[in-house]
Amino acid sequence: MSKIHSLREAIAENVGDGDTVFIGGFGQCIPFAAAHEIVRQRRRRLVLCRSGADIVFDLLVAAGCVEKIIAGYVGNPGLGLAHAFRRAVEAGTVAVEDWTNFAMVLRFHAAVLGVPFLPADILSAGDIPAAVNVRKVVCPYTGRDLSAIPMLAPDVAIIHAQRADAAGNVQLFGLPGDTLEGALASRRIIATVEEIVAPAAIRAAPDRTVLPAFRIAAVSKVRFGAYPSYVDRHYGRDDEAYAEWDSLSRDAAALERWIAAEVIGRADYADYIAAIDKKRLDALVAEAAAVRQ
């Protein structure tokens, strides 16, 4: 009954060309290893979705995997634009549906609750409502007009967490952001984790389990699988790597060369991580340890 697979198998079996893919992580636990694997397997025509997306979206766009993005925000947080995304949207090679972060969370939440829409008091003014064709619904008790936020159920969710057991029970510590809404909204869930633990460790702390095994399609152990984002208790955020992406991604040709060498040219994420200065990683690990003494 083990759900443990190599990340290569997990992506090969669960992410198809043209799939709508939710990518988890909000600040922490952004599944970069899985994104690299998607690039390596040259998936095409993906529809990416989530609330606020960071440079993991930019990477997938730059690598030519993406046809459309459905999101509330796509950028390099605190630094500015996602340059590959900006170029692709301006060139018309990637379509974008502009929602808001709350709207995206509600779209997933509707799918989690199994209903086709949820009412909300957003998307009632400005240019977003017309751009996404949001419809109205009237409260049958109060007569109040609300926006009907349509459910969104992705084909597959890709998330990263601290740990899971072989059965696929996933435990996430620290900020979940919109990860659990997006995952539970999706038909299939792939989880990468820092460590695989015994079932007894899960059942000794069941209020730490955030996704039950029966909802998980595959679990892959990938140490540093969310680098350069961070994982509470494991490693800090490599802000400098985000700044490096800001520089690198301004030049389309240089970015293409980097992807060829550092993503497609690597056997797997361990190979990519092995090439990073060990002192740099050690410092991030020390930083995480300092937060929770």
Binding site: G72, G78, L81, E90, V96, I122, S124, A125, G177
Partner: protein, 245 residues
């Protein structure tokens, strides 16, 4: 006019808008610096909420992302995006702090796209939670650098609706806009020069606008920024270490 830099004044004047015990929904960049400055000075009980899910945060250093380790490090509670947006829609957020690429006379904000003649629009990052905050916070504080390109009569794209949008009762939309040079109100639904910073003329305050806004009469002058607040703002800006805006 004092020795304080524009960025220090921007952060400090915005911080002064935040009252103690207020529940604030805080975006990254200047809004976060202003909220942190307030919490470290006159508003120690301000409740800072970040859309990543951190509730009652007290970041040890300015976070680069709304979900950064600094946001979480000293927070009282980690919820989810859903739980904090729920608080927002419930009406429990006193003040939303927003910035944007463009603002217009009615307080509409644009963070989605800029028109360019003869070329495709310049694509920006999109709403994030800004649209939601603009409609659902009880009051919205807009914080903008003194930059002529960012003040327009009509924004290219209305990401976050301004004063004219219909809202639930108790949700006022933008009530103030702070620059390094002045405080603007939206008392009649329109950007109105309410007060100038100490040592700033009304012409200087209006220099970021291409139009002549209404002015409060008499036009107030804001109290000078005290040394403590200026020092805190400067420390935060230094730790932020990146462009403001």
């Amino acid at each position: 006019m004092s020795e304080q830099t524009d960025t220090v004044r921007l952060v400090a004047l915005a911080a002064r808008e935040i009252r103690d015990h207020e529940v604030c929904f805080v975006g990254i960049g200047v809004p976060s610096l202003a909220a942190m400055a307030a919490k470290r000075t006159h508003a120690p009980n301000a409740v800072l909420i970040y859309e990543s899910g951190a509730i009652d945060a007290d970041p040890p250093k300015p976070p680069l992302s709304t979900g950064s380790p600094a946001v979480v490090a000293n927070t009282a509670m980690i919820g989810s995006c859903l739980s904090v947006f729920a608080l927002l829609q419930q009406g429990r957020i006193d003040r939303g702090l927003l910035s944007a690429a463009q603002v217009d006379r009615e307080g509409n904000l644009n963070s989605t796209a800029l028109h360019r003649s003869g070329r495709p629009d310049l694509r920006l990052v999109g709403s994030g939670g800004a649209h939601d905050i603009a409609l659902l916070a009880r009051e919205v504080l807009i914080i903008m650098p003194q930059d002529k390109r960012r003040f327009v009569e009509r924004v290219d794209y209305v990401t976050s609706p301004g004063t004219r949008a219909p809202r639930l009762s108790g949700r006022q939309g933008p009530t103030a806009l702070i620059t390094s040079h002045a405080r603007f109100s939206f008392d009649r639904g329109e950007l109105t020069l309410d007060a100038v910073a100490d040592g700033v003329s009304s012409a200087e305050a209006r220099a970021c606008l291409t139009w002549r806004p209404p002015e409060a009469a008499p036009l107030r002058t804001l109290a000078p920024i005290d040394r403590e607040l200026a020092a805190v703002a400067e420390t935060l800006i230094h730790a932020w270490g990146r462009d403001i805006g």
